[in-house]
């Protein structure tokens, strides 16, 4: 499993669930029901300000674990990725790439 952070473009359903993403010039489609949770951020190290009224997204960010296949539909094993969405700005980043064979679920 790799840990890094890279900006990605994500198309979502109305419910906020990711459907497609563009990453490193490639297009991917989400091929299984994703899992979502919220993870804490080390905001005291990452932010310069934390005034009252900062709103959502200071303490945690939304994580989506998605299984994707490269477009156009290839037949190989899907990739498991963790995407984070910043709650304030709505920006997406790719934060982890998992060993494709062992997707963890709840």
């Amino acid at each position: 499993m790799g840990m890094f952070s890279e900006s990605v473009d994500v198309d979502c359903a109305a419910s906020g669930q990711p459907l497609k993403l563009r990453w490193a010039g490639q297009h991917y489609t989400v091929c299984a029901e994703p899992v979502r949770w919220y993870e804490r951020r080390q905001w005291w190290a990452e932010e310069r300000r934390a005034p009252l009224g900062s709103g959502p997204g200071l303490v945690d960010h939304e994580i989506w674990r998605v299984q994707v296949r490269l477009d156009p539909q290839d037949a190989g094993e899907p990739l498991t990725l963790d995407l984070s969405r910043h709650l304030g700005s709505g920006r997406w980043r790719l934060v982890r790439i998992h060993d494709a064979l062992q997707p963890r679920t709840a």
Partner: protein, 1162 residues
């Protein structure tokens, strides 16, 4: 669809909850909720505020608590097994709330009431089970929620699959049927972690398996997402660890999802859990329905369940009354007339009678007779203890209080209005405050518990919220900043709210350096400072802990402990979890028994007078008292010399002369620089002037510039102006300026005919945006009908609007003025005893050492510490020989010497006198360091002289030092032991080897400051004198001779720092310094603050440049333009030819006890 949150911590869950009950209730109501729970941790701290907030928001309150449970398998005194939420069921005439109160008291019963006690706040499962059932009906009246933080929930993540099941079964076995529910919570954390959906699913399935209802909650800690960061900081403050440390453990909340989610969001959460469990729609419906069903069970009726606003007073039988309480009150008032108004007749009698009937009528109608009898009972009990007591506050407005000896002020004489205290239209229990000697306060409390029974009495608590300094310290700790750095910053924060930190950075000169650091845009090093400001602002006002209120005692009937939970206070007596804001809603009778040091100081002074002058004749002679009716002295002095201070007439000329001289240091209420200035300008001639003076020296009148016109009219510089002739009788005593609440009431009454009771309602509506408009409408309409011109109406309304909300109640002023007058009277007639009392009880605003200067000014000798003559308290003593022979002096006390223990002190005094050091060692068993310290302070000088030894104090100290160093074994070098019985004098002292130079004055003064925080041998500024002369400094005693507007340099040690509210809201800093010849009050306006910057609040020794301002015939102060730190010699403005500044040794060098010496903390 609506959703009820059953598990919500408010900000009153100290160091845990973030949001105020009002915010939570408003947000819940706005989302369509019909009810909301408050389940604070460890107590019902926010419960009453929650009730109020829910009623205001139009929703039903639910009340409960979040409690730790002792581990049945572990040590029952210390080991915990998770936390549960307990909710009270409602609409059962309080059975649920009663059980909840008692349960919370159980949880605290074993704790010590002191910070850091070993026993945690928790209940055993057995207590929980037994409180759950109502003792009358044996039906469950509490519901226990087993959630993610319970032992069951915490076992969910473990490897032992069966563990949660086993634990859950134990709960089922232990608790009465129908009292348990499973609390399902998902805060959408990382799958498989605590508070994840997976855990919620497991809890749901466990409930299903055992046929226990499950409810959905969000374990709320904050109202909205934004509160999550504040919760992080609170976690840090609670655990005393920084955020990085907590994150590593990991002990922080896993994410920021614990907010009061909307009904829609909670439904989504429910759906997600049900889907993950593999259940269907029916199960979702059931989960949501069970949540609402439990909420319905627990809806509380504030009136029938909690006794909302229903006053409860002790049973008549407890206060020894067998007849109708009102009849009893009437009889006691009758009995009081003879005592208070001997020989009253004619119109005065008629007026008094009609006033009494009026008051009694209102009291009877409100049913408050027992209340007055209760207060009278407490008051009588205190006086029977021989403790000085005085009523304060609006209670002084009542003739009934005066007649039954609760108050000492005649309301008729001072024109005080009963309606300001109590009226038909005001159905809340009035406040009566009783001031007692501070040293006797705890005894008085214990006596009240004895007298009324522990089931009817508890102390009131107070909530201590974050203020700027505490907030910046805890914010700094959360960020992992260096303690010293944060301490430096905290020191500069001076009386402003933490919420205005960023604003203050821009405005306040003393924060300029810090602000500069924040502004430098280097991310790494200054990110922390920027965050520090934000987090400080987040903490502002949040409750930190509760403590014993300084004066509130709650009195009730035998059901009191069913209505408030209690916990041990530091004093050992039980303390309610409710604060003063909760009293009125809960119908609780609160008595303020306030410890006033001045009362102790005065009581001490009177005892000293009688000790030194044990007969009436001697007291009369010593105090120069009038000859009295029969020539033997006034009636208020008893044959044995005891002075009945309360009986001293309020028109003593020497007393007013003293007050006008502005030498009022030590006098109650009138010793501050601002007050001395005002007194100097006003020159009080009679008691009523004192009442006015005290009432004027308040934020309101100062801010709105009432003082200047008042003084101009008083001294006839400008003609008095009345808005209308009808108001002249109302405003005459204050020369046309509205000062008192009583005048506002009368103004309303005169111009609208509304009656005084309604007038007081109107007064209290002033300042309230909504109500004030209605009052204005009424006032204008009615005044117009009565023929007042539009100009008059406009003018008067302007005054009412401006002064109404903060004017001062004359009854308060009158009650305050009594001890003011009494202390000035004592100072005028018995200054030695009075100063000894001040030293002993330290009632004033200045450091004790300033009284030394005052004693010098008054020519009262201060007698040094002496092992045979000094006692455990300051004593007045007749000087036996020397230049002052025959005078009364004050002997320093052995109490308060650094390092001398209470036990040592007791043994010294018990063994006096001593004929030698060996005798002292043998009988007082003093530690060697204590003996050395006493020697440093000169306590053996007279013994030493008597022994005929040739050595000096330095030699003796060195001798003792050697003994101390050599003293390995218990007896060590105590070779002098055997001489105890020989009347040979002190061989040891005689034989101390001379040789060292005698200690310098600076050495002695330093020892005194270091060990006693006072400088007696010389003034601590004396050693600076040569340097000050070179600087051209003017001394305090010369200032009065200078003309107004002279530019001078002054220097001294700081004794007081104040930032009183001022006109226009601009901060003004008063700094008083003492230079050994007197006090100099300097005022720093905006410009000067800019100049002085950091020096304003951080420096002990100051050099100040300023111009003199005359403040009255006998008063002068300084308008400062610049200040320097006197200890930084190189920065001082020496004249050109005097440049070379040599540093001299100073007594303050190396002494860090700033607070006691300069009155400044840090």
């Amino acid at each position: 669809m609506s959703f009820t949150h059953l598990h919500v911590s408010t900000a009153f869950s100290a160091h845990y909850g973030v949001s105020w009950p009002e915010e939570l209730a408003q947000v819940a109501a706005a989302d369509g909720a019909s009810a909301l729970a408050c389940t604070d941790r460890d107590g019902l701290y926010g419960t009453i505020k929650h009730l109020k907030a829910c009623m205001a928001a139009g929703i039903d309150p639910l009340v409960g608590v979040d409690l730790a449970v002792f581990d049945d398998d572990g040590d029952h005194r210390t080991q915990l097994a998770g936390r549960v939420v307990v909710l009270a069921r409602g609409h059962n005439n309080g059975a649920g709330y009663r059980a909840l109160c008692r349960l919370v008291s159980d949880a605290h019963a074993r704790t010590s009431g002191k910070a850091g006690g070993a026993v945690p706040v928790a209940v055993t499962r057995a207590e929980l089970a037994s409180r759950t059932l109502d003792p009358q009906t044996l039906k469950p009246v509490l519901t226990v929620l087993i959630g993610p933080d319970s032992d069951v929930g915490r076992a969910m993540g473990g490897r032992r699959y069966l563990r949660p099941r086993t634990l859950f079964k134990r709960w089922l076995e232990a608790m009465p049927a129908g009292s348990l529910v499973a609390e399902v919570v998902s805060q959408l954390t990382t799958p498989g972690k605590p508070l994840s959906t997976a855990h919620a699913v497991r809890m749901l399935k466990l409930a299903e398996e055992h046929h226990v209802p499950a409810v959905l909650t969000n374990a709320v800690r904050y109202c909205a997402e934004d509160g999550a960061a504040t919760a992080d900081v609170l976690d840090s403050a609670r655990t005393l660890k920084s955020l990085p440390e907590l994150a590593a453990e990991p002990l922080l909340q896993p994410n920021g999802q614990a907010w009061l989610k909307s009904a829609e969001q909670m439904l989504q959460l429910g759906k997600e859990i049900i889907r993950a469990a593999g259940y269907g729609t029916a199960d979702l419906k059931q989960l949501m329905a069970q949540t609402e069903a439990l909420a319905d069970y627990c809806r509380i009726d504030p009136v029938s369940d909690m006794g909302w606003k229903q006053p409860v007073v002790p049973e008549a039988s407890v206060i020894g009354i067998s007849q109708d309480p009102h009849l009893e009150l009437v009889q006691r008032c009758e009995a009081g007339i003879g005592r208070r108004f001997p020989g009253i007749s004619g119109p005065a009698h008629k007026e008094m009678r009609s006033r009494l009937e009026h008051e009694l009528g209102i009291i009877r109608n409100l049913g408050f007779s027992s209340y007055f009898l209760t207060v009278a009972e407490v008051s009588r009990m205190i006086l029977d203890m021989g403790v000085r007591a005085a009523a304060r506050g609006s209670g002084a407005s009542s003739l009934v209080n005066y007649l039954i000896d609760v108050s000492q002020v005649d309301p008729l004489q001072h024109d005080l209005i009963f309606e300001r205290f109590l009226s038909r239209d005001r159905a809340t229990l009035p406040d009566i405050d009783i001031d007692v000697e501070s040293a006797e306060r705890h005894n008085v409390y214990r006596k009240i518990f004895d007298r009324f029974g522990a089931e009817r009495v508890t102390l009131m608590s107070m909530q201590n919220g974050y203020r700027a300094r505490g907030a910046v310290r805890d914010a700094g700790m959360a960020l992992g900043m260096d303690d010293d750095d944060v301490g430096e910053i905290a020191k500069q924060l001076w009386r402003f709210s933490a919420r205005k930190f960023r604003e203050a950075l821009v405005e306040k000169p003393e924060l300029r350096e810090f602000a500069g650091r924040v502004e430098q845009r280097g991310f790494a090093e200054n990110q922390q400072l920027d965050l520090l400001v934000d987090l400080t602002e987040r903490l502002d006002r949040l409750p930190r802990h509760i403590s014993m209120h300084p004066c509130g005692v709650i009195l009730g009937d035998a059901t009191l402990l069913d209505r408030t939970p209690v916990q041990p206070s530091g004093l050992g007596l039980p303390m309610s979890q409710f604060d003063k804001h909760d009293m009125d809603p809960m119908g609780m009778l609160k008595l303020d028994v306030l410890g006033v040091r001045m009362q102790s100081a005065m009581a001490f002074a009177i005892r000293e007078v009688i000790r030194i002058h044990p007969s009436k004749a001697e007291v009369v002679a010593a105090g120069a008292h009038p000859a009295g009716p029969d020539g033997s002295g006034p009636d208020y002095i008893a044959e044995n010399g005891h002075i009945d201070l309360n009986a001293v007439p309020l028109d003593d000329e020497p007393t007013f002369e003293l007050i006008r001289s502005t030498h009022t240091l030590g006098c109650f209420q009138i010793e501050s620089p601002g007050q001395r200035e005002l007194i100097g300008k006003m020159a009080p001639r009679e008691f009523n002037d004192l009442i006015i003076d005290i009432s004027l020296f308040r934020p309101g009148p100062m801010k709105s510039d009432m003082v200047r016109p008042f003084l101009e009219h008083r001294h006839g510089f400008a003609p008095e102006v009345y808005p209308h002739p009808d108001l002249k009788p109302v405003l005459q005593e204050t020369h046309g300026v509205t000062v008192f609440h009583e005048q506002i009431l009368k103004t309303f009454d005169v111009m609208t005919g509304c009656g005084l009771a309604r007038a007081d309602e109107f007064r209290r509506a002033l300042g309230n945006e909504v109500l004030e408009l209605k009052v204005e409408e009424f006032f204008r309409r009615e005044a117009r009908i009565r023929g007042y011109s539009p100009e008059v109406v406009d003018n008067v309304w302007g005054t009412l609007k401006a002064f109404g909300s903060f004017g001062f109640c004359k009854a308060h002023g009158a009650a305050f003025a009594v001890p003011t007058y009494q202390s000035a009277w004592l100072k005028a007639h018995h200054p030695e005893a009075f100063l000894a009392g001040l030293w002993e009880h330290d009632p004033g605003m200045y450091p004790k050492r300033l009284l030394v200067a005052e004693a010098r000014r008054l020519g009262i000798p201060i007698l040094p510490l002496d092992i045979n003559r000094s006692q455990a308290e300051y004593r007045v003593e007749r000087v036996a020989d020397g230049a002052d022979a025959g005078k009364l002096g004050i002997r320093l006390s052995l109490n308060g010497i650094y390092g001398l223990s209470g036990a040592e002190l007791k043994r010294i005094v018990a063994g006096q006198p001593y004929d030698s050091l060996a005798d002292l060692r043998a009988r007082s068993r003093l530690s060697r360091p204590s003996i050395k310290r006493l020697a440093q302070l000169g306590a053996f000088d007279s013994l030493h002289r008597e022994s005929g030894g040739a050595a000096n104090r330095a030699d003796l100290v060195q001798h003792l030092q050697k003994l101390q160093a050599a003293g390995g074994t218990r007896k060590g070098l105590d070779i002098m032991e055997g001489q105890l019985a020989l009347p040979l004098g002190d061989v040891e002292l005689r034989n101390v080897k001379p040789g060292l130079p005698a200690p310098t004055l600076v050495d002695n003064v330093r020892a005194e400051l270091d060990l006693m925080a006072i400088d007696v041998s010389g003034h601590l500024m004396d050693s600076h004198r040569p340097m000050l002369d070179r600087l051209g400094v003017t001394t305090a005693d010369k200032l009065l001779g200078l003309r107004n507007g002279t530019e001078v340099l002054v220097a001294g040690v700081r004794i007081a720092t104040q930032t009183p509210p001022m006109r226009g809201g601009r901060r003004v800093v008063f700094i008083s310094i003492d230079d050994g010849t007197g006090c100099i009050d300097s005022v720093f306006f905006h410009e000067a603050q800019e100049q002085a910057g950091l020096l304003l609040f951080g420096t002990r020794l100051l050099l100040i440049r300023g111009t003199t301002r005359r403040t009255g015939p006998r008063g002068i102060s300084l308008s400062a333009s610049m200040a320097w730190d006197l200890s930084k010699v190189e920065t001082l403005p020496f004249p050109e030819n005097q440049r070379e500044g040599t540093d001299v040794p100073h007594p303050l060098d190396g002494i860090s006890r700033s607070l006691a010496i300069t009155g400044m903390g840090g």
